[in-house]
Structure formats: structure tokens, C-alpha cells
Amino acid sequence: MNMPDLQPLMPEIVFLGLALFVLLAELFIKSKETIGLMVIVSVAATAYMIPQSFGVTFSGMFISDGYSSFFKFIFLLNLILTILISIQYIQIERAEFGEYYTVLMFSTLGMMIMASAGDLIVLYLGLELMALSTYILAGFIRHDARSTESALKYFLLGAFSSAILLYGIMLLYGLTGTTDIMKLSSLLMKNGMRLQSIFAIVMVMVAFGFKIALVPFHMWAPDVYEGAPTSITAFMSVGPKAAGFAVIGRVFLTGLEGFSADWRLLLVVLSIATMAVGNIIAIQQHNLKRMLAYSSIAHAGYAVLGVIAGNTEGLSATMNYLLIYAFMNIGAFSVLVLLRNEQERIETLEQIKGLARNHPFASALMLIFMFSLTGIPPTAGFVGKFFLFRALVYSGYTWLAVVAVVFSAISAYFYLRVVMYMYMYEPEEGVTQDISTAAPLGLALLITSLMVIAIGIYPEPFVNFARLVVG
């Protein structure tokens, strides 16, 4: 047995080694800022390795290419931003265990493995690594019943969806005799069992749909997002979702290419249901975290549109959208973290009434993120939606693009309501609107708001980058 080529795996190996180092270092270093800095340095080292890692290894099980690298970039960015907003927040929540940072790194490692998986077994293991770490993180505030409940709910439903994924993988293996994603399509076509293949595809889609919270597999999301620590909600509304899209792109567009007419039809139905439920139920929410949870469901519905378009244009639009979504969504959650003070959690619409009087700057940032989530120019959200809908129209789904625009217009109601409550009301009596003054959090807000505006004004390099990477 020859030594396998480890070059494509180097970013993951380095990242794992540094994660283990952080796990040990945390025993001796008490300053959480130092640990946070170590994680950020690890991320930088890993990001540096990624461009030199292109290749296929372990006989096709692990693929490092432009596509996976783009997603890894999103995951690492997500990790950095989460670390920046976490440092002070988890101290306020009295959950500042050093393992927090290591588990975040392990979760990111799982996502990186998912994005590079060329084999269904590797895909499943990467997914489990990511999910298991996220369950732990969701329950990190142990003295808070809501956090524990959210972790347990997430765990039970996550385990259930894993079982469904395994059934799907088992059926695909039975039908083709391989777990290699690249060989699936041709072998399935050769086998010719259409109905049986579709049953397997449905199973796989249900499991992935659970991970990215597509309706009707979204039931866990609002409760889990509301109960988990806000920094973790930001983390898992971006990272695992992007990882889910990474495997959907790989499995459906490559592995199940031959059945594209069938899964496309399924995805069209799911995406319309997702946009409808996400946007309409968000209107009723008065808790901002819950509202953002439904908004994140709706955004998954938009992002799927690019996969439905199914060509280079569509896939790169989805990838771009996920990158933009990372900035604007983490930005919005950062403002919520900013509003968490020693006395209370500011999470409801009533509590942010008149925020602009007390904190004009924080309100202005929230305004930018809400505009971007709605998709109003000149913010990044507009650019993201524009390219998604354009790809959709070019591939012949004009009616679906119209539906998406209509739901997008509905979403303006609940996003702009936040702005209205901040700017057009007087502050309520007895609500302490103290805000955090942590420097890392400020940096996270600076990065996210600048990027949201920069991509909105000058999208060219980002759009071209994603297109280059896919094509």
C-alpha cells in the first residue's frame, strides 16, 4: 500500500492539528482573547494552504477544487466572525468554557470535509462531525433551560435526519454498488430502475433539506435558533447551511445529474413552500431571533433557486448568495449580541423601540443589514438576489423568479418593521438599552457592514470569482 497523497488534505490536517493545539492550550491560557486570537491565526494558516491544495486523493474520496475552496472560504469567514462576536458575549452569558472555541473549529472542520467529499461515506461523516459539534454549541449555556431545550431538540431531529440520509445512501449503494459520487449518475442510468432511484433521491433530499431547513423539514429551526446562544445562532444559520448547499451542489448536480428533471421538480416545490412559510410566518414574530430564524428559512428558499437553474450561472449565483448572506446575517445577529447587556436580553421588537435615540450608530448598522436582507439596493442583498433571479430567468424559470420576487416583497414588511420600531417610537420605560463595548464585536460589525455595502456597490470581483471557481 502506497502512502496516499496528502497534499489535497493539507488544509484540513493543519486545521485539525491547530484545533487540538487550541484544545490543550486552553488548559493553560486563561485569557479568552488570546484563545480567540489563536483560532483566528489558525484560520489564516488554513486559508493560506487552501489554494495550494487542489487535487483528488484517497481514490476519489476527497476532492479539493475551486468549488470546495470557495465554500471553505465561507466556512472560515463564518468562524472568524463568530469568534469575534463571541468573546465578550459568552462571558456575559456565563458560559466561557475554552472548549467553545475548539468545538467551533471542529464544526468548521466537518463542513470543510463535507464540501470536499467525493464519497457518500465521507460526506456522511463530515456531516456528523459538523452536526455533533453544533448540538454541543447550541446547549452551551447550561444554566439556561431554553439553550438546553434547543440542543436536545436539535440533537433528536438531527439524529433522525441522519438516519434518513443513511437509508438514502444505502439505497443508492444497493442500486449502483458504489458510494463514489462521481460514478453514481452513470451507474444509476445503467441500472435503469427509475422509480427505485427516485425513492433513494427523495431520501437524500429530505436529509439535506433538514440541514438547510427547507419547508417542510424546517420545524426545528425556530426553536433551536431562539434557544441557542445568539453567537451560535449566527454561526449555525450560515455555516451548516452553506455546507448543506455545498453537498447539494455536488451530489445533485454531479452525482444525480441523470435525474435532474425529477429532483428539479421536487426542489421547485420545496423552494416555493420554503419561501412562502419562511416569509409569511416571520411576519407574526415579535422575537427578533425567531424572526431571523424564519428569515433564514426563507433565504434557504432563495438560495435553492440557483441549484434549480442548475447551470454554472445558477450555481455560482447560489454560492455568491451564501457568501453575501454570511455577511448580512452574521451582521444582524452581531447587532443582537451588541444589545445583550448584563441586565437583560434585548430580543423583542418592544425592547428595541426608540433604539435610534439612544444608540444611533447601532441602529444605523441594523438598518443596513435589514435593507440588505430585504434586498434593497445598494446593499449586497440586492446583488445576491439579482444574480439568482437572473440565472433563473435565463434557464427558463421566469415564473419561479416572479414568485420569488413577490415573496421578497412580502419580506420587506417584517424587515422594515424592525427599522420602524427603532426609529419611529419612543423608548419603553424600564428597558435598559445598554450596549456592549467589546472591540472584537466592533470589528465584526465593521467587517460585515463594510462588506455588505462594498459588494452592493461594486459586485464585479465577487461575482466573477464565483463564476471562475465553478466554471
Binding site: 456565563r94 468554557f97 455533533l132 454541543i136 446547549g139 454498488g177 422509480l195
Partner: protein
Amino acid sequence: MVEAFFIYFALMVVFCSVMVVSRKNPVHSVLWMLVMFFHVAGLYLMLNAEFLAATQIIVYAGAILVLFLFVIMLLNLKEEIATEHSVGGWPGGLALAVSFLLFALLAFTGFTVKASGKWSIQEVSRLTHTKALGKVLYTEYLFPFEVASVILLVAIVGAVVLAKKKLKS
């Protein structure tokens, strides 16, 4: 003769599974599950998979079931369970399960047997199942194996954080 054993094991697995989900007392459920695990191990033995049979008994019957029993005894749920059965919506669940089973059976009809490569039945029985599995696991499937080890590490870290660490007040 072999068929008789297979029918015995298969029927017992189905019977025990039904008993697991239909018992009111959770301790009884767990004990029925134990019986079921032994019969599943028997099925594995019939397939010449002695390694799987051993792990089935050591890991599932030995470790996981004991954990179940611990949890049930710690929680002391008896009275709650007796008054309110936890599987109230069973007709819907049964319908779902049956339709799922039918679909799964349909899907099985499409299964293909690929030409066996290096690991033919003769080769596996010559090397013994355990050795063959070990060889594949540490060469061809080395990468997934290592990822699995990271998953176990995360599970340990998580268990320590969520259960052991002292709460800060």
C-alpha cells in the same frame, strides 16, 4: 436447517421490536431490546460476519443498553409513563411505517449485484471476516476512519463540557 435458523432469528427480531415499542414500562422495553440485539447478532453470524456479531453484542448489548438502563433508572419516569403512553399517535405512525416499508421493498427490487472484486466470498472466508474488514478499513477506508475518530473526540469533549464542568454563578 439453515433456513429454520434464519426464520427463527428473523421472526424473533420482528417480535422483539414490536414488544420494545409496545411495552408500557420502559425497563421492559430495554430488556426486549436486549433480546432483539442478540438475535440480530445471530443473523450476522449466519452471514459469516463474526466480527459484526461480536461488536453487536459488545457495543450495543454491552454498552449502549446499559446506558439506556442507567438513564431510565436515573430519570425514574415510571408514574408519568404509566398514566400517559408516549406513543399515542400510533395509527398514523403505523401507516407511515408500512408505506415506508412498501417503498423500501420496491427499492430493494432494483438492487444490483456487482462483480465482486478483490474480496470474493472465498477470499473473505479464507482470511476470516475480521482480518478482511481490518485490511479494508486501514487502507481503502483510512480517511473515513480517521474522520470517525475526530467525531468520537468531539463527543468526548462535548460530554465533558455539558456534564462535567462546574457552572459559573
